[in-house]
Symmetry: C2
Subunit: 246 residues, 2 copies
């Protein structure tokens, strides 16, 4: 492996607004390190991860009138800026329903997870076509992915409300409760039903879903865009412009 | 799973002085979340991970007169304290050669990774006996584990200098360069040679080594104390006194 020529001595941090959930936040930091070409520790991207799980639930806020997560997320953005972040990533898809408010409040760039997934689909050789969507009820009901993917020329295939509740939310709740074994089956079932309906690729559009289907179990599921890996690759591309990504 | 009765609304952060290496720091945050019994996001332990890989190499400082990592580590401790940490964990064994200076400079408790491993051996049903040690040349040459384990009544089995260089450092350097496949074989070979010499359990006493031998590949290797998991369990026990750990 070639040593990157990038000099990171004076580099600002990649700030990570995590905790939504905490496994997803940590997995994001892990994937940033794993996907960054670097010959030794010192050449990696400096990261501050604020993995604070006490942010009110994003889905409950949108779907059931629960307390807004926005004040807690804004406090997180302020902490990351004060800590020297030069760019911020938010490894939670549902949190992006508040993206405009968060980006407007930040004085540094905030990466957009849906744009990262679109870039990832193109990188995987799927620049157009039909995309199967998995995510929280709130993310799918409010059309977060549909809006951006359709603007980019894709057609979206969305599970029925009942399938979202049973397969997507079933897998997501299992991951959030640490029941990893129970999360696999509903998640894989949803990938397969979307492919049966003609999806050229499936988006794991909630950051718990990549934890439900670990990389080792993805063979045979066709092209998947993992929103954690997609955001990690976008962060690496931002911090190391010009570096060749796997 | 029962909901923990712990109220974390006013809880300080678990501060993590990471980056040594960055995969190990992120894996530590991941294992804290995975090993904490919690029914939903909000019940988890709030974590700040400063995953700054620019800290000078610990082994090079001790073995080859490289720049000291102490000033950079002290800066990290100060950052974590200023960020509201109530306890600090350092997922790097070699960094613990500077433990006394770091703990003396901190106004909050700093967990000791070797004590965490001893607690983990007891938890695994190995309260005495012969312990095989794997780690960096510096950690083993300076007797970090030997000192603490012998004080606790254990007998230590240490690989030869050549084996440490070839098997332990071979695996560690491969992980630090992101070459995970190349890291497995030397690490497993070292576990097996220590068991052949009579080890009742083997300590993965460098935080790159648990990444070289993922959990899924540990069947048949006998009792292993994974220094990342051991430190994560110690952190959970500190932050959630009385909680039942797996």
């Amino acid at each position: 492996m070639n040593a990157p020529i990038f000099d990171n001595a004076a580099e600002g941090y990649l700030g990570v607004l995590g905790g939504m959930g905490p496994l997803a936040g940590a997995q994001f930091a892990l994937r940033v390190a794993a996907l960054t070409p670097a010959p030794n520790d010192q050449a990696h991207i400096p990261v501050i991860l604020r993995n604070d799980p006490r942010i009110p639930d994003r889905s409950t806020a949108h779907m059931a009138g629960g307390p807004s997560p926005l004040p807690a997320m804004l406090a997180g953005i302020r902490f990351l800026e004060a800590s020297g972040s030069q760019v911020i990533a938010i490894p939670c898809n549902t949190a992006h329903l508040w993206y405009d408010e968060l980006a407007a409040a930040a004085s540094v760039p905030v990466l957009h997870i849906v744009q990262s997934v679109i870039d990832d689909l193109v990188r995987q050789g799927v620049p157009s076509g039909r995309i199967g969507l998995m995510g929280t009820t709130a993310t799918l009901a409010l059309g977060l992915y549909q809006r951006h993917l359709e603007a980019a020329g894709y057609e979206c295939i969305v599970p029925t409300d009942e399938e979202v509740e049973r397969e997507c939310m079933g897998a997501i709740r299992a991951v959030k409760a640490g029941q990893m074994e129970a999360s696999i089956e509903p998640a894989v079932r949803c990938v397969n039903l979307l492919r049966d309906r003609g999806a050229d690729a499936v988006v794991l559009g909630c950051t718990e879903l990549p934890l439900a289907i670990p990389h080792a179990l993805r063979a045979g599921l066709g092209p998947l865009s993992d929103s954690i890996d997609a955001l990690a690759l976008a962060a690496i591309a931002h911090c190391r412009p010009g570096i060749a990504l796997a």
